[in-house]
Amino acid sequence: MVNFSALALIPLFPAFGAVFNLFFGDRLGRRVVNIVGPGVMFAAFAVAAWAFVRLAAMQPGSALVAHLWTWIVAGGFNANVGFRVDALSAVMILIVTGVGALIHVYSVGYMAHDEDFARFFTYLNLFAAAMLILVLADNLLLMFVGWEGVGLCSYLLIGFWYTNPQNSYAGRKAFIVNRIGDAGFLLGTFTIVAALASHGVWTLDFQALRANADLIGSAAATAAALLLFLGATGKSAQIPLYVWLPDAMAGPTPVSALIHAATMVTAGVYMIARLNFLFLMAPSALALVATIGALTALFAATIALVQSDIKKVLAYSTVSQLGYMFLGVGSGAFASGIFHLMTHAFFKGLLFLCAGSVIHALSGEQDMNKMGGLRTKVPITFWTMMVATLAIAAIPPFSGYFSKDLILESAYESGHTGLWLIGVITAGMTSFYMFRLIFLTFFGTSRVEPEREHHLHESPPVMTIPLIILAILAFVGGWRTHGFEQFLAPVVGEFKPAVEANALGLSAIASASGLVGIALAYLFYIQRPELPDALARGMSDLYDLLLNKWYVDELYDAIVTKPLFWGSDNLLNRLADRFVIDGAVNGAGLTVESVGEVARRAETGNVQHYALAYLIGAIGVAAYYLYLVTH
């Protein structure tokens, strides 16, 4: 373990950028912000790369650490603010700063016409800082700081265009749903602390946790793993907490690319990989992770099939791809999950940026039904997006092929044959909806509204250059599969197959599935464009179900949100608080007053009544003494 204080600079650069943009952004103007915003990211990337190089030069399994200060000490409990770069976090910081920097650059172009650019970069930088804290943290609690921090930034950025109440609502929804997950995260943390504390060990430090993992005990480990996974489902948009992510597309597209595709949503995967020792102690929890992952992948893919909003398609696709990652880590192949995380960051980031470029070109149009034939109008966007689509469709030798293949193989080899099958089917659906997107957007005849047609243009270089870089990464990013696995192995362990499998055969099946998807998409949207409508009419129930996202939002609304509000207002506020409790209080006061009002009537003013009262008192006293005398 090598001390490397410069690690602190990695999150500090973006944090500085955020503060700078907050206080001086508006005053100093766009030019400065455009330099500072992406600039701090490049600086962070530079430090991250430096750290990576240093780490790569060291023994496998070593790490760079930076202990900053002791954060919380209470009784035995203690937590530090300290950073740690090992293989896993090295990969993550490179993704976050690298992809982040590109997206920052892209944003300069994307937000060129927005008044609130300074605020945008403030948030974006802040996000990067939080995300970097998340991945750099050397303990669970500090990780939680980043964990919640990215949630906050996500909230702020989703609701960035706040004048539209829909956006703010989406932001809040994201935050709240995330908080539900965070609650799980916290409880999981507590479980670990409590379990270790019972052995006199107070720590949340990852290294120490790993060293003391066997003290936790399998029951506590299972509980902790499940709870932490709940946190992961929130952050990484898995069933049942995925609902916020599609709505999160309300934010500016670079945000969707950075936060809701490349980085933040993968935090859950990262966390599980980081705590692999814990999850390995809880096989049932791990199996659940895999199952949820697979189901989410399938489920989200079905919805993506019919969406017409270009970003919504990508959003559900993200959910689906995240499902793959969980399938991977859930199968025990943590490296595969991280690997897919990385390639996904490249191609999904790219997809979003391309979509953004399209939207930008069409002055904000997002409905694919109003696109078409853009291939020639925005060639760079088209070609780069094509690369990304091929990557996500897992067509060799694009990066996605390698990572997805690895996941499916791991799933099969870990004995989850059913899940593997789901993965394969989903792969087909993935290529179908992605090519549906490509065909609807770039091929066919233009359905663009005339006034938008007028402004149609390719994006400026500041946007296209990041696209090209990412396209390259999306293409080549998966080529060093084995090296990647080995690099990570000291941290996340090596995958141990339970079932022998023919890797080539599996790969062929998956690729075939992808190709079938493409073929179907071609059939539906190029050859027989009338077919989708006919199909939709023919199976209108299913179509509606998918179009309305299985009515999950409505379901949540009906069984959670509405009763909560209704109950709070009527049962708690009106009935319990106002009527019962306050009623009792005021009632006591009222009783005093009314008793007083009645009693004062005894004071009639007639002195003889007073004498009578006096006499009655006297009788009472005399009665007591009569009793005393006679007894």
Binding site: W71, G75, E148, T163, S168, R172, L186, A194, G200, D582
Partner: protein, 527 residues
């Protein structure tokens, strides 16, 4: 240590209050009041600088005979538990005065400053008193200025709110007075010494029944003040109708007196009963957390919303206190400070809004961000602190409390954690309705952003939030010796009780850590 700095601290504001009455001009009054409030502030920081953090006992102790024939002495001292509450008090009073002079209070400024400074004296006195009688005196004294602050400078049903506040508090505190008397009487019988000195009273043995009644009396007084559900209904009224400065102090410091009372009096005096009653109090605390949050959620009035959020937050504090472990209690104490800062800040912000629009109805606002970005940004930070975002102060407290509660009760803590979710829900929703969306009311178009004075009020608040969020260790470390000392008996007793009968059902619910918790903390902190 025989310095009388604490007396100076207590009575300086009173001197200032007297001074206020001699001033004629309004402007001079405000300036003088604010400047004067800086003196106790400075003194309190000086005291902090001289405070020995490794000593859990009272420091700067001062003791004089007062009413010797009744065993009452003027005995004051400061320990790690009261130290930060003292600082909080002096800070918030200064801020409240600074804010109120900026146009919030226009009528009778002299009396206003008089009562504010008098209030400060009362609060500081209650925090510093070691003699129980003295504590009670200050405990009641602080009621009066607050009553006037609400009743004179309040809004709406201010008189109702003020009298409700007084009566609620008084019922509880008078019963506590009886308990105090009984306590002292028993002490005299037991020790053959007539004294109201708290440390002496800690050692009085009671029968179970006696202790239960006495604890109940103390707990009632403090629970009303906290307020714990279901004794909370004075709070929304008082907070809503009070002037901004009143709400700030009420929420910021006064509610803490209840929790402080539990820590200082109710629990260490009757540890056995406290242990016995802990499930009840934790349940009530959790109900308070959830209830407060849910009711806050649907409030149409912004200030009322903040008021109910206090119910929820103080539920956390109580939860932590009754966990009895260092994490819980330190978290609770820390959360008390947090709540003072963040809810104080929220009340200030709501006050600023009210000053501009003379309404607090959430539906009257919307889309303000565009007009008042500075205000909105500050509001955002304060709100985030209030909902316990990691990195800001609120998280440290809530985390420790929940950890403490978890160590004690296991997964029951999930309910408290749910409160955290709801906390985010109501706050963000309210924020969204006020700040986001389009501007729907024409009046809001011309609303002006914060004045420099108002910014000056908020900057220390924000600064504290960040500082306390990043570097809680100093504060926690300073608290710890005193808390350990105060809870020593509770912990040993609990350990003894648990070794006697650990019921299997309970054990299933609780993590095994609890038992270890009672042993001296020698556990390795593996790094």
């Amino acid at each position: 240590m025989s310095s009388n700095v604490l007396s100076v601290l207590i009575f300086l504001p009173l001197v200032g209050a007297g001074l206020m009455l001699m001033l004629r001009s309004e402007r001079a009054t405000w300036n003088a009041a604010f400047l004067f409030s800086l003196i106790p502030l400075a003194v309190s920081f000086w005291v902090y600088s001289q405070f020995n953090p490794s000593n859990g006992n009272y420091q700067f102790v001062e003791s004089h005979e007062w009413i010797p024939s009744m065993g009452i002495s003027y005995h004051i001292g400061l320990d790690g538990i009261s130290l930060f509450l003292v600082l909080l008090t002096t800070i918030l009073i200064s801020l409240a005065l600074l804010y109120s002079g900026g146009g919030d209070i226009t009528e009778r400024p002299r009396e206003f400053c008089f009562f504010m400074l008098m209030l400060e004296s009362g609060l500081l006195g209650a925090l510093l008193a070691v003699d129980v009688f003295l504590f009670y005196v200050f405990w009641e004294v602080m009621l009066i200025p607050m009553y006037f602050l609400i009743g004179i400078w309040g809004h709406g049903r201010k008189v109702y709110a003020a009298i409700k506040f007084v009566l609620f508090t008084m019922v509880g505190s008078l019963l506590m007075l009886v308990a105090i008397l009984y306590l002292v009487y028993s002490a005299r019988v037991h020790f053959d010494r007539l004294s109201f000195d708290l440390p002496l009273l800690y050692g009085v043995p009671f029968t179970r029944t006696e202790a239960r009644w006495l604890f109940a009396a103390f707990a009632l007084a403090f629970a009303i003040k906290v307020p714990m559900w279901p004794l909370h209904t004075w709070l929304p009224d008082a907070h809503t109708e009070a002037p901004t400065a009143g709400s700030v102090i009420l929420a910021g410091v006064m509610l803490k007196m209840g929790a402080y009372g539990f820590i200082r009096f109710a629990i260490p005096l009757f540890p056995e009963v406290a242990i016995e009653a802990a499930p009840l109090f934790m349940t009530l605390a959790i109900i308070g957390i959830i209830f407060g949050a849910l009711v806050a959620m649907i409030q149409p009035d912004l200030k009322r919303l903040v008021a109910y959020s206090s119910v929820s937050h103080l539920g956390f504090v109580m939860l932590g206190i009754f966990a009895f472990n260092p994490q819980g209690v330190e978290g609770a104490l820390y959360q008390m400070l947090n709540h003072g800062v963040s809810t104080g800040g929220l009340f200030l912000l709501v006050g600023m809004l009210y000053l501009r629009r003379h309404t607090r109805e959430i539906s009257e606002f919307g889309g303000l961000w565009h007009r008042v970005p500075v205000y909105a940004s500050i509001f955002m930070v304060v709100m985030l602190s209030s909902i316990g975002l990691p990195g800001l102060n609120g998280f440290v407290g809530e985390f420790l409390i929940m950890l403490g509660a978890f160590l004690k009760t296991g997964y029951w803590t999930a309910f408290a954690v749910a409160g955290v979710i709801l906390g985010a829900l109501y706050m963000l929703w309210a924020y969204e309705r006020v700040m986001f969306g389009p501007i729907t009311k024409a009046v809001n178009e011309t609303i002006r952003d914060l004045t420099p004075r108002e910014v000056a009020v908020m900057v220390p608040v924000i600064g504290l939030m960040i500082l306390m969020g990043f570097f809680p260790r100093t504060i926690l470390g300073t608290m710890e010796p005193s808390i350990d000392l105060t809870f020593q008996r509770v912990r040993t007793m609990q350990a003894r009780l648990e070794s006697h009968h650990s019921s299997p059902q309970l054990a299933a619910l609780l993590p095994a850590s609890q038992r270890v918790e009672m042993e001296p903390r020698t556990g390795a902190t593996a790094q």
